[in-house]
């Protein structure tokens, strides 16, 4: 019995070994390490002491509270509340629209909206930073100037809006693709039957197509919810969290605390809360969707 087990292990080792090791080292260990660092005052000097719950106390407002935290929480909620509907509803809308028009045109538009995801983050960030730059050298302000209109300091006056748009359309890239392929796989007879019964195109869309997309819609919502909660790279590239914390979301605040202000302990506490929220959300999603279903599907696809 034991020999069998050992034999099995020897068999598995070269295949599963490297992957398991790497995942353990760069995923599992960091999750634990982040929590550990959160209980210290690790700073730039790389000397640390255990300070217990002090970092978390500052976040939750026990005793003296960090005044930026409420603002960061609000920003995060606004950001997610803006970007998530934009992604799901926008993706749905564009998927439906692009399938209603002539095939070539549909492909063209889907490409246009897929480009954000095909382009490196730095370039996407740079594109938005350039497009909305507050001087006449920016793209849209250059056009405004040419039309005789005054310059608008988009990034200073409407930073959250721009950040929501930039990330929202990034989400749309994926959502639109998923919805399109899901729509394409809806059996023709269903839609034809509805049309024969006298339904207009919009009614077909509303009463036949959308209900059939329940699964992809839920998947995309859950996926993007977690994605937006954790995302900060694009925001960092476009506005840097500013001006004056106007677009500083939770994840970005954690990053800045650690790597800009060199308060690794505090940053780790911010990030570990995020990790916990992630895990909780994941459990909820798994519960709601049924893990078995997802696995069984995998088998069928063979």
């Amino acid at each position: 019995m034991f020999r069998e087990k050992l034999g099995r292990l020897a068999l598995l080792a070269p295949f599963m070994g490297p992957g398991t090791l790497l995942i353990a080292f760069f995923y599992c260990v960091p999750v634990v390490l982040t929590l550990l660092i959160a209980f210290t005052d690790m700073g730039r000097t790389l000397q640390w002491h255990f300070i217990g719950w002090a970092n978390f106390a500052k976040l939750f407002g026990v005793g003296a509270r960090d005044p930026i935290v409420p603002r960061v929480i609000t920003n995060t909620l606004v950001y997610v509340a803006g970007a998530l509907p934009l992604t799901v509803i926008g993706g749905l809308l564009l998927a439906i629209l692009s399938m209603r028009v002539h095939r070539g045109a549909g492909l063209f538009f889907r490409t246009v909206f897929f480009i954000p995801r095909a382009v490196p983050p730095v370039v996407w960030g740079f594109l938005w930073a350039w497009a909305f730059e507050g001087t006449p050298y920016g793209l849209f302000n250059g056009i405004r100037t040419a039309m005789g209109l005054p310059v608008v300091h988009w990034l200073i006056r409407y930073p959250m809006l721009i950040v929501i748009l930039a990330n929202g359309f990034l989400g749309i890239s994926l959502a639109m693709l998923v919805f399109s392929s899901a729509i394409a796989s809806i059996p023709r007879d269903l839609t034809r039957a509805a049309e024969v019964d006298g339904a207009s195109e919009w009614q077909v869309a509303r009463y036949v197509i959308v209900p059939m997309l329940k699964w992809p819609i839920l998947t995309m919502t859950a996926w993007h919810l977690m994605s937006f909660l954790n995302s900060y790279v694009y925001i960092m590239l476009i506005t840097g969290g500013g001006p004056y914390y106007a677009t500083e979301v939770w994840a970005l605040y954690g990053y800045h605390s650690a790597f800009s202000y060199y308060r690794y302990g505090y940053g780790a506490s911010v990030m570990s809360l995020l990790v916990i929220v992630n895990l909780v959300l994941l459990l909820v999603v798994v519960r709601a969707f049924g893990m078995r279903r997802m696995l069984i599907r995998g088998k069928i696809e063979v």
């Binding site: 068999l11 295949f15 490297p18 992957g19 790497l22 995942i23 760069f26 995923y27 260990v29 960091p30 999750v31 390490l33 982040t34 660092i37 564009l94 209603r100 028009v101 045109a105 538009f109 246009v112 480009i115 382009v119 490196p120 983050p121 730095v122 370039v123 740079f126 350039w130 497009a131 920016g138 793209l139 849209f140 250059g142 056009i143 100037t145 040419a146 693709l177 998923v178 392929s181 899901a182 207009s200 195109e201 992809p216 998947t219 994605s227 954790n230 995302s231 590239l237 994840a251 954690g254 990053y255 790597f259 690794y264 990030m271 990790v275 992630n278 997802m294 599907r297 995998g298 696809e301």
Partner: protein
């Protein structure tokens, strides 16, 4: 008649939403090749002066580098990452597809969990981890860290490819007395070449596009193309044409790779395919 209006409405909506983006893309492209700009978007003349980084060093703040050094670093980073992902996922994917063992389902589910916790949230811990194993500030170390982020989904992809190969192949090979490893190496790998290409591109592309890991974990003087572009945006009086040209160069290699391996990719099991 109503249908006609409906259709026009569709086109109109799509066009309105797409317009700003098209403006951005076209403007970006033109800006790279434009000399002096009119209306901020239409060049007065065309030229290659924005591509001067090809033969001049690039300076930002008090430092400078050449685009070739950055390109070399990025290639090293992305290729290392891609190779690591490919090797590991091809190995693990085979085992997950073909070998029964306890905890297999748990492992697969774990991959989904892990994919949901994005690596960028764990950067602080990764920073210290790399420091303690003396791999911080070194391209191979950071490439390894980056690769591990793509492994969860890469494993699912690889498994998908292996699942597509009928069982008889294996049976006949094992009858001939090959070890499992030999079966994998000699028989399966050649059969899943499109899978290898797909997984490699997956790992390569994400590493090529990476910014935050390189920015945080590599020292300032080791520049990848992504961190180089960001430095220019952050510290200099921004010459948008120059940046646009540099960005175009940055986007080129993955496209080339994609075209190169395109045929092999036509059979990728797409996430969100039928009936999902």
């Amino acid at each position: 008649m109503k249908e006609r209006w409906d259709r026009v409405l569709c086109y109109a909506l799509l066009a309105i939403i797409a317009a700003p983006f098209l403006t951005m893309y076209v403007g970006f492209f033109l800006r790279a090749f434009g000399e002096r700009m009119y209306l901020g978007i239409l060049p007065k003349e065309f030229g290659f002066s924005n591509f001067r980084f090809l033969w001049e060093p690039i300076a930002w703040g008090l430092e400078q580098t050449t685009v070739w050094a950055a390109l070399g670093n990025t290639l090293a980073f992305a290729i290392t990452s891609g190779l690591v992902v490919t090797c590991i996922c091809m190995l693990a994917g085979y085992a997950l597809s073909r070998i029964e063992f306890r905890g297999k389902n748990f492992f697969l589910v774990l991959q989904l969990f892990l994919h949901a916790v994005p690596g960028q949230v764990l950067l602080i811990a990764v920073f210290f981890l790399l420091f303690y194993v003396k791999l911080l500030h070194k391209v191979p170390g950071v490439a390894l860290a980056r690769a591990s982020l793509e492994i969860p989904l890469g494993i699912w992809m690889a498994k998908g490819f292996f699942d597509g190969i009928p069982w008889d192949v294996e049976r006949s090979a094992m009858v001939d007395g090959c070890t499992r490893f030999q079966v994998w190496y000699r028989i399966f790998l050649p059969l899943v070449k499109p899978g290898i290409a797909a997984v490699f591109i997956w790992g390569f592309l994400f590493a090529w596009h990476d910014f935050i890991y390189a920015y945080t974990l590599l020292p300032g003087r080791v520049k990848l193309l992504s961190t180089l572009i960001q430095s220019l945006v952050a510290t200099e009086v921004i010459d948008y044409g120059y940046l646009a040209a540099l960005s175009l160069l940055y986007m080129l290699p993955p496209l080339l790779l994609f075209v190169f391996l395109q045929r092999a990719l036509l059979r990728v099991p797409v996430f969100g395919g039928k009936g999902v």
